[in-house]
């Protein structure tokens, strides 16, 4: 590859990026066109499948009217508060489990039984305890999102090589220094993987609990639209959620690349 100062290579790279972008979005655009044509073909009613243009118009009018931002803000608020709580609790608990026998003894069976359980069934119990407002939605999100973080942290810290720990000890690192400067950075790739699993889970649970408990947010508004047979509103919600989910996942992937720039995986080709 020539130097970045060469204008020709910059052009080539730009064209290349444009081509890969077009190839990437082509099938999504094709899907949207197929949706539009199928909805207008008269084979289905407006109620079953409103055309994409009508749905886009609805999203646009909600966005201009400001309603969209309020609902989006509420959903993201519930998602992120729960998600950050889950990350904090997960990393602390995971570190404790990896480093102390007592914590491992107590929490290991709870985690190994709790992880594969469908925890959304506890929704009525959470409503019973915490009511139907934000606290119970955030609690649901936290409980569901904490498990991937805990398991990833435990695996990550247990996987730190003995040589690293011994050398740090040898150079006189105290417990706290060992934790902050050796164990946590070395475990970061695995912890990030857990965090990347936890964020979509947090969004799913936030939207589901809005659907089940009401209280606005994108999920709540979708459920309301569905009760009033307003299928444009339902599809608008789906498109919004798809976009938000996609953006969140991309942001985390970007954060991972930045945070782990020093790690060898940054140069390795990524998979889906």
């Amino acid at each position: 590859m020539s130097t970045a100062a060469d204008p020709r290579s910059a052009v080539v790279r730009l064209v290349w990026a444009a081509c890969s972008f077009v190839a990437h979005t082509a099938s999504i655009v094709a899907l949207l066109i197929a949706w539009e044509l199928f909805a207008r073909s008269g084979k289905v009613t407006m109620f079953m499948l409103p055309p994409f243009s009508a749905v886009a118009e609805r999203i646009w009018s909600d966005a201009v009217g400001g309603k969209l931002w309020i609902d989006l803000g509420l959903t993201l608020y519930r998602t992120f508060v729960g998600f950050f709580l889950a990350c904090t609790i997960g990393v602390v608990l995971g570190t404790a489990m990896a480093r102390t026998k007592l914590a491992r003894w107590f929490f290991d069976p709870i985690i190994s039984i709790g992880f594969p359980m469908p925890k959304v069934v506890f929704l009525p119990v959470v409503i019973l305890w915490l009511g139907v407002f934000d606290v119970s939605k955030i609690a649901m999100v936290t409980v569901e999102a904490v498990f991937p973080v805990v398991t990833a942290t435990v695996l990550g810290i247990q996987g730190v090589g003995h040589e690293l720990i011994w050398s740090a000890r040898n150079m006189g690192a105290k417990d706290r220094e060992l934790l902050w400067q050796v164990l946590l950075p070395a475990a970061l790739p695995q912890v990030m993987t857990g965090v990347q699993v936890a964020l979509p889970v947090a969004l799913i649970v936030a939207i589901f609990s809005e659907m089940a408990m009401g209280g606005f947010g994108i999920g709540g508004v979708m459920m309301q639209a569905s009760r009033f047979a307003d299928s444009r509103g339902v599809f608008a919600g789906i498109v919004e959620i798809a976009i938000v989910g996609y953006c969140l996942v991309q942001i985390l992937a970007f954060a991972r690349r930045r945070l782990l720039r020093w790690h060898q995986e940054a140069t390795a080709p990524s998979t889906v």
């Binding site: 082509a26 999504i28 039984i113 359980m117 959304v120 019973l128 659907m211 089940a212 789906i238 998979t271």
Partner: protein
Amino acid sequence: MRAALIRYSPLLILAVAWQLISQFEIVSSSALPPLTQIGGAWLDLLTSGELQKNAAPSLYRGGVGLLLAIGFGSVLGIAMAWWKPVNVVFGPLVEAFYPMPKSALIPVTVIWLGFGDGSKILLIFLGCMLPVVIGAYNGARSTEQVMVWSARSMGAGRLRMMWDVVIPSALPEIMNGIRTALALAFILMVTSELIVAREGLGNLIGFLGANGSYAAMYAVVLTVAFMGFAADRIYQLAAQRVLAWREAALS
């Protein structure tokens, strides 16, 4: 035996604490009914047949949706890894829809297929398919080139190679994807039934909760949670058996 007792003693401690807390009314017994009362309610549900009557449609929906997802998902994933055009068309779609919360589709599946089994099966199918697709795609793509070459030099045709080389080497990743799908199937089953259904375990939970029979509600909640846990454990045992040849070959 003793090792298992020590390993699972925290759960016993929690159960005893639960029983004591509700026995001495530290929190109100409707918010946390004593375990003994929940056990009684569970037996009542079982003898009246209420539990079995609602478990049957739930498991039917979950099972059919999951099987369809495994079938379509693994075929699509392997096709994406093996034929470029398939990947060009479906790759971006999978990537765009993977992070989308599937519970958002509940109202749509209801609009399309009504309140019965169809809408739940469609939802579970759509939700569970993507992890299987991604597992199959990653697994089939990482088939060792050496194996492909040797199979080809020994005169294997495309289909033969698919069957004898690609699918076995993709199997561990596919099995991993199916495990994620299994957990998702339970989640989608319960959530869709909690929100719109006329029967099923999720619906039973919502009904009992709305009626204020909290001990019975806890009984059903714990039953579903245990079913999810048991399904995962059974699946892992089965997966170990299926993949036993691989461990033998590696060691």
